[in-house]
């Protein structure tokens, strides 16, 4: 069974690779390369996979899930400038692809019991989203 929790955070970012010139970055990232940054209301959907516990009837305690998301993602990222305030985005370009992968890395160690992390979906806007998952190790 899959369960999904949705949370939101608002953050600013600049999509530019420091190894490239300003002109190259504008060609690669378009308006997102503006050096002063811009922001989004990100929507994050975290999906867990598991079977309901025979005693509690739950795949995972949703209160605990809420705390894990708050501690690892929304706490550190909400109302922040990702490039300056959130590692590893001081050296990794905070594209939606890279943010989704970083969220996976932060969350996955919390779900190694009966419920496993199945998918991370990050909406940068209503019309653009990224799904990230890794096969179970």
């Amino acid at each position: 069974m899959l369960i999904t929790r949705r949370v939101e955070f608002s953050a600013s970012h600049v999509c530019a690779n420091p190894a490239l010139s300003g002109e190259e970055n504008r060609a690669l990232y378009g308006a997102a390369a503006n050096p002063l940054g811009h922001g989004h209301n990100y929507v994050l959907e975290v999906t867990l996979e598991g079977l309901p516990d025979p005693v509690t009837g739950m795949v995972f305690d949703l209160r605990e899930l809420k705390e894990i998301l708050q501690h690892n993602v929304t706490g550190p990222m909400d109302h922040r400038f990702l490039n300056r305030e959130v590692t590893p985005f001081d050296r990794v370009v905070p594209t939606a692809e890279n943010i989704a992968a970083e969220i996976w890395r932060r969350l996955e160690p919390n779900f190694r019991g009966t419920a496993r992390l199945s998918n991370v979906r990050l909406y940068e806007t209503e019309d653009l989203f990224v799904d990230y998952s890794e096969a179970a190790s």
């Binding site: 690669l28 378009g30 370009v93 692809e97 890279n98 019309d127 653009l128 990224v130 799904d131």
Partner: protein
């Protein structure tokens, strides 16, 4: 696995009617959608791509380039058009959303740049309640 999905919109009219059946059988089969005057929808089209994210750019595909491809190969000819009469593919093929989704995929694949990541999904919302999805493997 990283998959990026981009959502587009187009508004078009269509009529579901097949020459293979009688008028009465068409009315029976397609119901309201067989109205001889046609009707329209605000279609929502989701295009998904999948692949390995390049380390230097951190982006799977240049979204502006994907937008340009979809605009050029689909939206420009579908938006604010009558699918049956304005789009050659639907002169003989009934423009059900199943067939519209397949036509969209075929148009995208024939224009797909070699440097793009793999086309991983075409999902077409005819209304908020009717959603049609193809996968690459279905071809």
């Amino acid at each position: 696995m990283t998959r990026l999905t981009r959502r587009y919109r187009f508004c078009a009219s269509h009529r579901l009617h097949t020459a293979a059946l009688s008028d009465e059988a068409n009315r029976e089969l397609y119901g309201k959608c067989n109205n001889p005057w046609g009707h329209g929808h605000n279609y929502v089209l989701e295009i998904g791509v999948t692949g390995t994210v390049p380390l230097d750019s951190g982006q799977l595909v240049l979204v502006d380039a994907l937008d340009e491809l979809v605009e050029r190969s689909v939206l420009r000819e579908f938006d604010h058009r009558d699918l049956n009469r304005d789009v050659a593919a639907f002169a003989r093929v009934v423009p059900t959303s199943e067939n519209v989704a397949m036509e969209i995929r075929s148009r995208l694949l024939s224009a797909w740049p070699a440097e793009f990541p793999k086309l991983a999904g075409v999902r077409l919302w005819e209304t908020k309640r009717n959603i049609f999805e193809l996968t690459h493997e279905e071809q």
